[in-house]
Symmetry: C2
Subunit: 342 residues, 2 copies
């Protein structure tokens, strides 16, 4: 159905039905000038925003509307997780070219609502406008964290170990294969079984935020600095170095990279390490803490969530800079080269 | 300077310097995964979002970047005001075509920061991405209100008077003249003095949110329902009717329309009433309250802010519908026809 058939307010009424959930904290929800919600009497409010633009962050030839919606909210949940908090209320603004159908917008919201349901928060407002050309999905997410559980990028201390959850480069490997699908549909899957293909693809199309893992770490209380991997390992550890005023060394051979990621990289004549360092959108957590705490924290995360934790390096004094150590012991400057927006 | 010269993180560093203000409530600001702020121990959190898209909400041939930024934040402040609250923290996401310069982005932020400074809130985060084609400015604003001062669209009662601040249709009159500038630059100002022209133009280019007036009304405590005029009087009183489950009559001759607005309308062969009913973006307040309270509230607003308040109609039972009464007493259905996004 064309959007013009039901208009802006018809669309909002449909979306409101889709996302409204009874919640005692919501005093005024969708359909007023602003949403009004009760907040707990203590703790901090967390605020984050991510905007996804067609042909920059997603591509309708690769992703369904459901997957675009899922990805938009996951990016925000991952940011709240990286502060040690829990997501609570989302505002969603969408700019829709006239060619998008009502059903496609509903599918987009189904993808977003799936994330909201899984992580127990609500979409409580936003804006719905037309766009001459680009499809844009802009999300703001409010979360909460107790002040003593807040983890920033700025707390890393010299001597800390640097840890990472899961494995890296998977999202970029998935994207590279999906981009190939458009051109050589038949031949490219030859190197992967159906199961492997599905696993690789899902890393890009249906990423998982590490909210539970982050909450465990925040409650555990020993993590000094944390960030989620959205720009690639090199860029994101770089943010920790800059905000904490420290240097670091990352041991190349300790960076966790899945066998599928290596396999895809080989197939494409690329390197799994490059995917991990510069790919981004893995939404894994990078965190630093003292060596005596690292083992306990890693075991807690692994034990309670099944998510592996790898120690990939350590924090050094600022004057030693940030270096990547090769398996042969060669020390190269850590070059930050994530997605270049401009 | 081209954006690619300083890159995404170079741009963020510049913007951070521009908008950062010392504030004890901000525990983590721009430069982390999310901002973290302290909230007062009581009261409600207000959340609203507005997105502006080039060639839909603004036009670079008509507005400067400063004015686009100003307009983006005013729309959000006006939404928080209409709930009876005060703005506190803004998240700004911008999608930038590669043709936009660093200086233009800074000018956009200067316009936003001017609103933030005037109304004592902070820009504390957001997202900065590239866009293939459209310039998009997406803002989320958090505000606060004590629960007993919250005013929604849904509280209007049968017998209430309907009031409006200031005058209506001015923004649309300004826009119509500005659009004309592009085509008949010399001739069109003939009907207006330089001073009149400047006043008409500013209504569109530099609208003012009625934050102080709204706060007075909220504290005064007698207002039952409130909304700001963003879609035009007809559409916005329609929202009150729908959310409150009531009907209403609006007296055409009581609708406040400025002499400049009438003059521009005549010059263009249009009607000032049409500008007021369907123009939108005036950011005036529409509110309803009992006849015994109306005079006191209106005098308080007029006395403390200088802003006039007009009584334009009254709330009726739902079955009587929403009607516009002509000066001759003819009752016509109130037709909602604001900007059609789809």
């Amino acid at each position: 159905m064309r959007l013009e058939r039901i208009g802006e307010f018809g669309l909002i009424a449909r979306l409101k039905d889709k996302v409204c959930r009874p919640n005692q904290r919501v005093v005024a929800g969708i359909g007023d000038d602003a949403a009004a919600v009760r907040v707990p009497s203590k703790g901090l409010l967390l605020l984050t925003a991510d905007v996804l633009v067609e042909d920059v962050h997603f591509n309708r030839r690769i992703q369904t509307f459901w997957q675009i919606g899922w990805r938009a909210l996951v990016a925000n949940v991952s940011d709240i997780a990286a502060m040690g908090g829990v997501p609570k209320h989302a505002l969603v603004s969408i700019c829709l070219p006239k060619t998008v159908s009502v059903e496609q917008v509903e599918e987009l919201y189904d993808g977003m609502q799936a994330v909201a349901d899984e992580h127990h928060f609500q979409i409580i407002g936003g804006d719905t406008v037309s766009s001459p050309r680009d499809l844009v999905v802009s999300v703001s997410l409010c979360g909460e964290v107790e002040e003593r559980e807040l983890i920033t990028r700025g707390g890393a201390r010299v001597g800390d170990l640097i840890c990472v959850t899961g494995d890296l480069g998977g999202s970029q490997a998935g994207l590279a294969m999906l981009q190939l699908s458009g051109t050589r549909k038949k031949s490219h899957r030859a190197s992967l079984s159906a199961e492997q293909w599905s696993a690789v693809r899902d890393r890009h199309l249906r990423p998982q935020p590490r909210l539970y893992e982050a909450r465990l770490l925040a409650q555990e209380g020993s993590v000094h600095a944390m960030i989620d991997v959205s720009d690639g390992l090199a860029g994101d550890v770089g943010h920790i170095a800059r905000e904490s005023g420290v240097g670091m060394e990352i041991l190349e051979e300790k960076i966790p990279i899945g066998s599928q990621t290596h396999r895809v990289a080989r197939y494409l004549g690329k390197s799994g390490l490059d995917f991990a360092l510069h790919g981004g959108e893995d939404f894994e957590l990078i965190f630093t803490l003292s060596p005596v705490d690292a083992r306990r924290a890693a075991e807690k995360v692994r034990g309670e969530t099944g998510t592996p934790v790898s120690v990939i390096g350590k924090i050094l004094p600022a004057q030693e800079g940030s270096v990547l150590v090769s398996p042969q012991g060669k020390r190269n400057p850590l070059i930050i080269e994530g997605y270049r927006h401009f």
